[in-house]
Symmetry: C2
Subunit: 580 residues, 2 copies
Amino acid sequence: MSYLDYVNTPADIKKMSVKELEGLSAEVRAAILKRDSLIGGHVGPNLGFVEATLALHYVFDSPKDKIVFDVSHQCYPHKIITGRKNGFLEPEDYVKITGYTAPQESAHDHFIVGHTSTSVSLASGLAKARDLKKEKHNVIAVIGDGSLSGGEALEGLDFAGSELNSNFIVVVNDNQMSIAENHGGLYQNLELLRQTNGKAELNLFKALGFDYVYVNDGNDIAALIKAFESVKDTNKPVVVHLNTEKGKGYTLAEKNKEPWHWHLPFDIQSGELKNSFAGETYNSLTNAFLLDKLKKGENVVVMTAGTPGLFGFTPEVRQQFGAHFVDVGIAEEHAVAMASALAKEGCRPVFSVHSSFIQRTYDQLSQDLALNKNPAVILVHLGGLSGADATHLGNFDMAMMTSIPNLVLLAPTNKDEYLNMLDWAMSQKKAPVVIRVPSGLPEAGKSSAFEPYKSEIIEKGNEVAILALGNFMKLGFAVAAALKEKGISPTLINPKFYHTLDEALLEELKDEHKLVITLEDGVLSGGFDEKVARFFGTSNVKVLTYGGKKEFTDREALESIYQRNRLTAPLIVEDAMAVL
Amino acid sequence: MSYLDYVNTPADIKKMSVKELEGLSAEVRAAILKRDSLIGGHVGPNLGFVEATLALHYVFDSPKDKIVFDVSHQCYPHKIITGRKNGFLEPEDYVKITGYTAPQESAHDHFIVGHTSTSVSLASGLAKARDLKKEKHNVIAVIGDGSLSGGEALEGLDFAGSELNSNFIVVVNDNQMSIAENHGGLYQNLELLRQTNGKAELNLFKALGFDYVYVNDGNDIAALIKAFESVKDTNKPVVVHLNTEKGKGYTLAEKNKEPWHWHLPFDIQSGELKNSFAGETYNSLTNAFLLDKLKKGENVVVMTAGTPGLFGFTPEVRQQFGAHFVDVGIAEEHAVAMASALAKEGCRPVFSVHSSFIQRTYDQLSQDLALNKNPAVILVHLGGLSGADATHLGNFDMAMMTSIPNLVLLAPTNKDEYLNMLDWAMSQKKAPVVIRVPSGLPEAGKSSAFEPYKSEIIEKGNEVAILALGNFMKLGFAVAAALKEKGISPTLINPKFYHTLDEALLEELKDEHKLVITLEDGVLSGGFDEKVARFFGTSNVKVLTYGGKKEFTDREALESIYQRNRLTAPLIVEDAMAVL
């Protein structure tokens, strides 16, 4: 028998001794490691937060007391002891639970959270509601040190530190790491606090209005229980600062924290990837291109907002760029504003960002960057419909940005075109340029130097014209081929950009085409397709648009998403024939 | 002769004595007051920052040394002594300069800035560029205490406090006020620092990695010069914290700071508005409605992010709502996340926000709110094409939000419809609802209870159908009337919402209509019109769309904007007849 056999709800751990909780910790850790090793997931943050999670549930009474996890990177132990252990113990049940908190799974989860720096703000709403409803319970926000640099977290801390005046507990899981090393002045303060056993007068949290409790060994269950008991039912905002060890209990992750923050499936013994890949990627391609530019004397500034690993910025790559590499920490707003100023001064900033995270900086894209027309370059990675979690979709970046004036939005369809566009973007001085990095592995393709803003006719035909944007050029070829089988010889076009239309080219289509088909790898609402539909609105040309419905999909197989949205050549041709 | 006669560039003040600078201060102050009294503008922040501006330019060598103003609320003195004094002295020249920093006007301005909390991030880009280019000069970010609560400012401070390691000076203009009183824990720390003459150990700026200098009388030129000289050419990031008096030198503004932050044209002697208005507004209507709900026992939570005055939340109104009024400070991201949590717990949060500032919280609208489907209500004010400054346009809110799933987006056309929609939004529990408050003064109109999601046929006709969204219903009536004069009897439709289409109703139009005209008070790109164009893409119905071009207009007369976009009944009918 194991301890976990007896644990189905948090109530089950309240009877345990510290020794038993330690035994349970080891089992929870093993379950996390096994799941991660088989399907990948967050390793380090979860392993470091096992004891704290058990202590939280030992002291507080969830779900009456409400625990809100930030970005959910450290929520696996919580999920295991709140009725979802089979999602970690039984490989066939893995798919039944998400890697994030999810109210649909459990009453112990209060929000679907996958973007970072949100817990304090969300929890402060729970606390305010409690006070207005004159209820009594604890509200606890858990936040990792890396997430503290995000604007939403800092806004939330500033608010909660003075405006609640009631029970509010922020647990800072300080594992001395963001995804990579931390960047920002506040981390010097966390270090000072750790070095002084929490006693330093200079204390960011106190400066924001919080009481403060420090736990020097954040993996010591007895100490954690004591600390949480000391703040339970407090009537003031308080920060409990835990010095935890990221990767605790798995030597490889303890020793080499960055690659073990999140990991693809691996062998537990050796730590080696089950499916390693050493070939060319858009990351390696981009980084080699930028390094070459730098060596040739261009004042390149390579930027990331706390996710260097996503873009192949390994410690070695970072070292190669030296002072020309800037990790701003998890702070996308700051990244875009800073890039704007760098570009104004003649530097060539290139900010790499996940499609889902560029959402965190709309206003800076508009006001700090586009209004000022500074020629910064932004590379949007992982854009496109995907089988990801609802919190990490690549569906929305294109539609979000098409309403912002002055932004040039490019969608290359292959490796050569991508590099040509990047080269052009970095050499022009008129406008900020966003390039949507193609999905998948780089494939060669024809591309001459990018000419603004001309779309390209790949194949000239008549009756039907296919506008295949970015990632969906392949689908464009497939549709063209399928139409040929029906005796139609379509025109196939690579639009190349989506902030505006090549109206001269579209105008010409009116003569010999009855139908225009648009294909784009993103949400239709607000997207490229609708601009095309508007353009042809007063003509006799009909328009059929293909992309994603406006919805948050959640770990749905891409195949199924494509099928539902009729994003296959046979379905598209079926629709086209019905219109013709 | 006056001192100002001799001042055309900052060089001209470097020879002045402190006494002369004080004389100049009085003249600068008078010029600001005169301009504000005649055309309105920011009063308090500018009056409080006159001496600091002169001292900055006395000590530093702009434009070689670069001064970046946050949100520009305190930039008038700077504009006056950097070659633009006529824009304050000569009423006929007032229109020639903006109320914000503007690089197109002067080499002493580095960015167009009108949204808050941006200066530190922008300046840190200038500093990084300087270091990479191995140049030597000072970079100074000016920021008001009120702007410190914004996520972008906090991200920027955190970054700059540790990542620059070179010259970087942040001047905090602490006038103890945001637009209204400050909200947030950091303001307790500023107060502590003021009370201890800057000597308190607990110091937010030091906790973020900055050196720190305090000036107790931020309107004392000699003290300011001394402080700035002490940090000039520093090789570390440093905060210079100035205790200034908001409204300094104008007794009315000193005594009553909130209404004098920004003021409409007024009589300098009495302070009275030149054109006062005491009638019903959408603000008074909304606040009465919400207060009534509260009195009837609904758990209403009225929210603003630092701009209570914009929405009629006077101190008296705030008192009436008591604990049910929440000003989060300038922190839109936090506001939306907090509203989501309040709604989840059964409260009825209603967050009022300027169209231009909802841009600051796209990701929270998507992830914290929409993904979690919590029924918070957001009232977007001042939406629509406008003659405002490029930084305060109401053009983009609708297009920005149409790509976010789960958000219900409503556009009422008159007072009764607005109240019905607000009532409906606050009584349903399924979705977050955004209501675009109509522009102008409330006008009565027919409206039965809002029925989701049915558009309304105002007038049934044929051949042409007009979809007149929100503010543009009036234009819709005008177009209908003009078409009738041409012998066409059009169908006039009030769409009521724009997150999706009433497809059943649109489907019916296909039978008897050849042309659909869409009218919307916002940018076309990504807007409602394009959804309509997409819907009719495969039908024989033609679509003509009217709204704003994708551009940043800048104090352009509304008349001219309408003309250029063909947003008048005669022009629209001309286009329609050409299509028919």
